[in-house]
């Protein structure tokens, strides 16, 4: 689905593609830094201690979430500057792309990159022979991974919109809400393999974020109804 989003909405406009790739790049850099921190922590600690390792992992995850949000903020700053440049360049004084579109595309960029990194090795391995969950792990590993990745990609998209909106209008509580949501979702993935603990809350949060982002983007229930009933 995320790829479909990409094809239908982004692939037309070259500027959006550039913003997308740059968004993916920012996510990548944040991942790099967070894994650097984790790596140093692991090397500096005792490799035998299981609980310590798990604790370090959790710490790594949380830190990575915070870093991602920080990079989203940096990206927002960069895009603000870019918009000013574009406005100056354009002929009629308004930018060819609005900040909301940029927010959407940035979110998709983040999401695609995180999804790709989460899934692609799994997919490559899935092509080969083997049985899922042969050692007593859950047999639904691939399915749940796929769903979790999808929800994460969508969430990133919505978070992008919410985050940028919060930055635009200086509503700090919005930004804080995004960060808290992200932490919650990552934290809920700790419940794996008890999948009900992670997938269900994530989907609920995604629905909430979707509705919120929709309202922020100017939609309303009337719009929705008109769209669904095909312009009645």
């Amino acid at each position: 689905p995320a790829f479909g989003l990409f094809l239908f909405t982004i692939a037309r406009d070259p500027l959006r593609i550039i913003i997308l790739i740059a968004g993916a790049f920012f996510w990548l850099v944040s991942l790099l830094l967070s894994s650097l921190i984790w790596f140093i922590a692991v090397k500096a600690s005792d490799p035998q201690d299981e609980r310590l390792q798990k604790g370090l992992l959790i710490f790594g995850v949380m830190f990575s979430v915070l870093l991602q949000e920080a990079f989203r903020f940096l990206y927002y700053k960069l895009l603000r500057k870019a918009i000013e440049g574009l406005v100056a360049l354009s002929e009629d004084g308004c930018s060819p792309i609005s900040i909301q579109q940029m927010a959407y595309v940035a979110g998709v960029g983040f999401g695609l990159m995180s999804g790709a990194f989460s899934m692609i090795n799994l997919l490559a391995d899935a092509l080969g022979p083997g049985t899922v969950g042969i050692h007593g792990d859950s047999q639904l590993y691939f399915l749940t991974s796929a769903f979790m990745t999808m929800v994460l990609i969508f969430l990133h998209t919505f978070w992008g919109i919410l985050f940028f909106h919060g930055c635009e209008h200086r509503r700090w509580w919005e930004i804080a809400a995004v960060i808290v949501m992200h932490l919650t979702v990552s934290g809920s993935s700790f419940c794996n393999p008890l999948y009900v603990g992670s997938l269900v809350p994530s989907y609920i949060l995604m629905a909430a974020a979707a509705a919120w982002a929709y309202l922020l983007s100017g939609g309303s229930v009337q719009n929705l109804r008109r769209f669904l009933l095909c312009k009645s």
């Binding site: 406009d13 070259p14 500027l15 593609i17 550039i18 790739i21 740059a22 993916a24 790049f25 990548l28 991942l31 790099l32 967070s34 894994s35 650097l36 984790w38 790596f39 692991v42 992992l57 790594g60 995850v61 990575s64 979430v65 991602q68 360049l89 354009s90 002929e91 990159m113 995180s114 790709a116 990194f117 989460s118 692609i120 090795n121 799994l122 490559a124 590993y141 749940t144 991974s145 979790m148 990745t149 994460l152 979702v185 990552s186 993935s189 700790f190 794996n192 393999p193």
Partner: protein, 458 residues
């Protein structure tokens, strides 16, 4: 990479340089692998030709702007407008370059992942004589550095040779060389590639069919690249030969040497294009002085060129023509053409249909594209291909390198828009790519693996 305005178009220069370089350089050396060595030598030569070509950039820009000011219609256009227009089309041009680079990389990665031939080590190029099978780390490092020095010096010699040839107008020689090299690329390497792919998928093919297929592919390729052909087809062919060349490099360069060579090439590129005495820069300047396009078939051009019908009789409006650049020389040329049409000198293609100039101010939007040298394609693909072949993190590393290279390309094009002269395309992208490759392989991979095994999501 040199970027230059496409004002002077002596399009009609077929890839002579590349072929001429080839004939001069085919060393009858006993190689580790006899059959392929000579072709690789040729390849490297062509490759070097590409490099030399990229220096043409700045000249053209200068020429372009000069000719631009000459146009009566355009004189009134202020400089800013021109800048605005160029930057406005900036995103579009960037995408026009993204797509072929992406395609080339996809082809290379797909081949590396599926055909095992290209990851087996079956010998080395004559240009990298030192083996890397030594037991100690220091020795291996030393060998790879020596390999790099030899390779770079060979490239420098070739480039200077090419520049000299161009300066003294030995066009026929250059043409012959380029034709010969592209011939070899198109026929020999395609044959090997096809053979390996068929072997991998266990598809039987008889010789007559094979001969027919390769003959058609090669002949059409020669025509498209060196003469005229549909733009898409020509672009496809250029992508194919870049991919083939990159695969050859990936196969025959030992590991550490490959990385050191990539780094050294970026530095060389930077110096060769930007230093006043750099060979590439001299090449570009010479080309601009003579108002000729740089060797065709060495450069990938992303759009067609339409000349504008002006009052001046010599600037005959032509139908869309393609800029075929010899990939060899112009390995790293960015070409940024202003969207305003200056007096484009008619492309020096001999069969140029001239459109009658109807009005004084008939201006057409020139869909000038950006030009990127084929050497750049090759090295980007080598980086990504090596990442795919040797990284244990598999796809994550490859993906990271891919994004890094694209961002580098973006930044380079941005700089191009700002500076408006030929710029080297390799350094930024390759630097990003190398940083991301090494860091992703060593840092991110264990992190992601642990996360995936616990099914945690960040």
């Amino acid at each position: 990479m040199i970027t230059f305005m496409n004002n002077s178009d002596s399009e009609e220069e077929p890839c002579n340089e590349r072929t001429s370089l080839m004939s001069a350089e085919s060393p009858p050396v006993p190689s580790y692998q006899d059959g392929l060595q000579a072709s690789e030598a040729g390849e490297v030569q062509t490759h070097r030709k590409r490099r030399a070509g990229s220096s043409r950039g700045p000249n053209n820009i200068a020429g372009g702007e000069m000719s631009g000011s000459g146009v009566p219609v355009r004189e009134s256009a202020p400089e800013n407008e021109e800048e605005e227009l160029t930057l406005k089309y900036g995103a579009k041009h960037v995408i026009m370059l993204f797509v072929p680079v992406t395609l080339c990389m996809i082809v290379v990665v797909a081949t590396i992942k599926s055909v095992r031939f290209y990851t087996e080590k079956n010998g080395q190029l004559i240009y990298t004589p030192f083996s890397e099978d030594t037991p100690s780390v220091g020795q291996r490092l030393l060998n790879s550095v020596l390999n790099t020095i030899i390779m770079i010096s060979v490239i420098i010699v070739m480039t200077v040779f090419l520049v000299l040839l161009y300066k003294y107008r030995c066009y026929k020689f250059i043409h012959g060389w380029l034709i010969l090299s592209s011939l070899m690329l198109l026929f020999l390497f395609t044959y090997i590639y096809l053979g390996e792919v068929l072997k991998t998928y266990n598809v039987a093919m008889d010789y007559p069919t094979l001969f027919l297929v390769i003959w058609n592919f090669g002949a059409v390729g020669m025509i498209c690249i060196h003469w005229k052909g549909p733009l898409q087809l020509q672009q496809a062919y250029l992508i194919m030969i870049s991919a083939l060349m990159a695969l050859v490099f990936i196969k025959y360069l030992p590991e550490w040497s490959a990385w050191v060579i990539l780094g050294a090439i970026s530095i060389y590129d930077l110096m060769a294009v930007l230093c006043p005495k750099g060979p590439l820069r001299m090449l570009v300047e010479t080309a601009q002085e003579r108002n000729e396009p740089i060797f065709p078939a060495l450069i990938y051009s992303s759009a067609m060129m339409w000349t504008v019908g002006m009052a001046k009789p010599d600037t005959a409006a032509r139908g869309p023509s393609q800029q075929t650049w010899d990939a060899a020389e112009d390995g790293r040329e960015h070409h940024r053409s202003p969207s305003h049409a200056d007096s484009r000198t008619s492309e020096t293609r001999s069969p140029v249909p001239t459109r009658p100039v109807t009005s004084l101010e008939e201006l057409e939007e020139e869909e000038r594209g950006v030009k990127l040298g084929l050497g750049d394609f090759i090295f980007y693909s080598v980086l990504v291909g090596k990442a795919a072949a040797t990284a244990s993190g598999d796809w994550n590393t490859t993906l990271a390198c891919f994004v890094a290279i694209l961002i580098g390309l973006c930044l380079t094009l941005l700089l191009l828009a700002v500076f408006k002269k030929a710029l080297p395309a390799l350094p930024i992208s390759i630097t990003f790519g190398l940083i991301f490759y090494f860091s992703t392989d060593n840092l991110v991979r264990p992190f992601m693996d642990t996360l995936a095994s616990h099914q945690l999501y960040i």
